[in-house]
């Protein structure tokens, strides 16, 4: 029999967990690499405090002005704002959270009610919850100052609203946890997230064009929002301010009904977790009919001109690209960005500037921006190798061939993307004159090839491991990012000067000739750098392996 005399109480368990989380954070900061994180954390805390305090003032003012102005029903807007922040913000910051997993508590002898309460307490310790509670209290203070008689109703509504939000947030969190336990789901989600971020860029031009048409439709739907919790909370306050006790009680009862429903759902979810939910990545073994292995489709012999090693790296890189939802979907970006910028700044009907910008400058500018985006991954090109990096060092292959293979695929993808972007550009804006067009193409070769050697050096010197389909702790090396921007700015500056030199000298072909020369020099430099990079890879292999196999 175990030596356990008595189980600790729920409060004692919550205290223990709070202490544990604090120790995990403190011990994590002891590592040298995490000291920079501490500085970042301090900056983030200062920024967050300013944000919370500033918005608290705004909510105070909102609560005061709505109630004192006789528009207490508008309090619903404030509740809606807090509700959306509380539920959406945790999804965005999931990547910065502690690595402590709530479910690991299940190994200890705790009862389901304690597990449930600790789960809720966890939710109340999140930044979104703390900020939202500050704003709710500020809003309540403002409204109370305006009309002290609503204090009791406000306190009840705020307490119920906090309980409801923390319950929904924990419920969503546990659903997401279950959903993202599968690798494929995570990857699809990250892809959709990136796409939605891109789609948001189109919102402004869309609203400018169709906003007036949509307005009546939106207004027609607004009344239906009144049955949702933030509107019910606002309505309770509004009815209380008008001394309509029956109306206030009815709305508050609606709010309580939501709490009951979501609490029941959360209880059910936590009960499933408590009983031991299976979230394993590996599918259970099944008896399968014996069959011969399907040969790998190798796409003909398109790569037969390459050495077997370089061809193997190119094929592997292509497969990795197509299986990395995040990287693959970002390939949609260049043509989409051309579409976006051309609708805002160029074409016949620009939405941002009233005069469209000439393709003579717009085209090279757009191409430079696309190269900036497409080349960024090259500065940490081993990010997704994981433990596979060891294969490169145990195989009888010179590392220059690995770099060549990786660069070859990147350049091919970049070429395809640039061609697609040019087609969209030609369709939307029109192409510049021939000298500028050819000068830009030669400049792209110069900038891309010129950067590859530096990007290879950066990849070997400042590697950072990234995971497929994850947003948590997915950060590039700060030095690599600075280096990438620095190099792009320098090369972009040189290219701009050369482009303008053609205008100043009155010789439209001068930039083309200059860029052609520079491109040739960049290619020669790239080839010359391969052997030194090969030697560098041998020197840096321990750092690479340690970083990527972690």
């Amino acid at each position: 029999m175990a030596d356990l005399v008595r189980s600790p109480g729920v409060l004692a368990q919550i205290k223990l967990i709070a202490r544990l989380r604090w120790r995990i954070l403190r011990n994590g900061l002891r590592r040298k690499n995490n000291r920079m994180d501490l500085i970042g954390l301090i900056f983030a805390s200062v920024f967050a405090s300013i944000l919370v305090l500033g918005l608290s003032g705004a909510f105070y003012a909102g609560g005061y002005s709505f109630v004192s102005g006789g528009h207490a029903s508008r309090m619903a807007f404030l509740f809606w704002a807090i509700f959306i922040f509380w539920q959406v913000f945790p999804v965005f910051v999931a990547g910065f959270g502690s690595s402590f997993e709530f479910r690991t508590l299940l190994r200890f002898p705790i009862r389901l009610p304690a597990f449930y309460l600790i789960g809720l307490a966890y939710g109340l310790a999140d930044f979104s919850a703390i900020a939202a509670i500050c704003w709710l209290l500020s809003m309540a203070a403002g409204a109370t100052v305006a009309q002290p008689s609503v204090l009791a109703a406000l306190l009840l509504v705020v307490a119920a609203f906090v309980a409801l939000n923390v319950t929904i947030e924990r419920l969503l969190g546990s659903w997401f946890e279950r959903l993202f336990a599968r690798r494929r789901t995570r990857e699809i989600f990250v892809g959709l997230f990136v796409l939605s971020m891109v789609a948001l860029q189109f919102l402004s031009p869309f609203l400018q064009r169709y906003g007036k048409t949509l307005q009546p439709m939106i207004l027609r739907w607004l009344p239906y929002l009144s049955v949702f919790p933030p509107s019910l909370a606002g309505n309770t306050i509004a009815r209380a301010a008008e001394y309509d006790l029956g109306g206030a009680l009815l709305s508050f009862a609606g709010l309580l009904a939501y709490i009951l429903v979501f609490s029941a759902l959360l209880w059910q979810r936590f009960a499933v977790q408590y009983r031991g939910e299976e979230l394993s990545e590996t599918s259970a073994p099944v008896q399968q009919a014996k069959r011969r292995v399907t040969p790998v489709t190798e796409g003909g012999d398109a790569l037969s001109v390459l050495s077997p090693q370089i061809a193997a790296v190119v094929r592997k890189e292509f497969r990795y690209l197509t299986r990395n939802g995040f990287a693959f979907i970002t390939l949609l970006m260049p043509p989409l960005l051309v579409l976006l910028f051309s609708s805002q700044f160029g074409g016949k009907h620009p939405t941002v500037s009233h005069r469209s910008i000439s393709p003579e400058m717009f085209f090279p500018g757009m191409m430079a921006y696309l190269v900036l985006i497409l080349l960024a991954p090259a500065y940490n090109s081993f990010a997704y190798e994981g433990r596979g990096i060891q294969t490169y060092f145990t195989s009888p292959v010179r590392f220059r061939n690995v770099l060549l293979g990786k660069n070859l695929l990147l350049v091919t993808v970049l070429a395809v993307e640039i061609v697609l972007a040019i087609i969209v550009f030609a369709f939307r804006v029109g192409l510049p004159a021939q000298p500028r067009f050819l000068a830009t193409l030669a400049a792209i070769v110069f900038i891309v090839v010129g950067q590859l050697s530096i990007a290879n050096w950066s990849s070997l010197s400042f590697p950072r491991k990234l995971e497929f389909g994850q947003m948590r702790n997915q950060r590039q090396s700060g030095i690599a990012v600075l280096l990438a921007f620095g190099v792009q700015i320098v090369l972009g500056g040189i290219s701009t000067l050369i482009l303008f030199a053609g205008k100043w000298t009155g010789n439209p072909w001068l930039p083309t000739e200059a860029f052609a020369f520079l491109a040739a020099a960049a290619v020669a430099g790239y080839v010359a750098a391969l052997d030194p990079l090969d030697q560098l890879a041998q020197k840096k292999k321990e750092v690479l392996i340690e970083t990527l196999c972690r």
């Binding site: 011969r292 790998v296 077997p308 596979g388 060891q390 145990t394």
Partner: protein, 262 residues
């Protein structure tokens, strides 16, 4: 005298002030099944990483099949196969794609690579999940794939870092079967493992490393004779290991310190 497959002279590796491997002189004859043992942190993995090109030695020499590793790394790597610590798999490829990749990295032509991949996947019972990514393989399946990748080019020396760690009896059976085939071909196998029973059953020769130094080397019989002395008793490898590594008593847990368990 048989050909020497692995020869090291004063092989040393330092990590800052820590000497992980301290001037070891290893000699492994071709065709031997060689077990490299030691307690945790003794320097086993560091040694195997140096011998396979994953880690540069601080000093000393390594000679594999008569070729100096430092001056001819590519030539040496052509002759060896490796299952490194953590297996070194590209997890976003399928098993078949990974074997094709490795085969081509070793310079095999595509037809040979395809034929060997198919045979190896069948032999390792990995052929029934052609579209499953390595990331979704079980631990045992990953070990089998790693071993298949290590032998696809027909190496003359095979380095295996903890090949049986976390592997069930079924997967271990497949691994042993393949190792048996390699032994029949005259391949030298250099293996590290914590499972002494497996080493005792498979290996003909053993070396023991402790705190970075080589403390014993020889055939199992030679080690038994060394430990038993004149008494003539037959010792298990575990007993030999404990008597050599635990001589100073520091490795043995002191149960009397756990007063509440008495």
């Amino acid at each position: 005298m048989s050909e020497t497959a692995i020869l090291t002279e004063k092989l040393t590796r330092r990590f800052g002030g820590l000497i992980a491997v301290d001037g070891i002189d290893l000699q492994v004859a071709a065709g031997q099944f060689f077990g490299f043992l030691g307690p945790n942190g003794a320097g086993k993995s560091t040694t195997i990483k140096m011998l396979t090109g994953l880690l540069a030695p601080s000093s000393g020499r390594m000679n594999l099949l008569g070729v100096d590793f430092t001056s001819n790394p590519v030539e040496v790597k052509r002759q060896i196969g490796v299952v490194p610590e953590g297996m070194g798999l590209f997890e976003r490829l399928t098993g078949s794609e990974y074997l094709h990749f490795v085969g081509q990295m070793y310079g095999l032509d595509r037809a040979t690579t395809r034929q060997r991949s198919e045979e190896l996947l069948e032999f390792m019972q990995l052929a029934d999940r052609p579209k499953t990514l390595v990331a979704d393989y079980s631990h045992g399946m990953q070990k089998k794939l790693a071993l298949a990748a290590a032998v696809i080019h027909g190496p003359r020396i095979l380095f295996l870092d903890e090949p049986f760690e976390g592997v069930d009896a079924l997967a271990a059976g497949a691994l042993k079967a393949l190792l048996g085939r390699m032994m029949e071909r005259g391949v030298t196998i250099f293996l590290t493992s914590h499972v002494l029973e497996i080493v005792e059953r498979l290996c003909s020769h053993v070396a023991i490393i402790h705190k970075g130094r080589l403390v014993a080397q020889g055939s199992l019989e030679e080690l038994r004779r060394g430990v038993a002395g004149d008494s003539g008793t037959t010792q298990t490898l575990e007993a030999i290991f404990l008597s050599i590594v635990g001589q100073d008593g520091t490795e043995r847990p002191q149960l009397e310190e756990l007063s509440w368990l008495t």
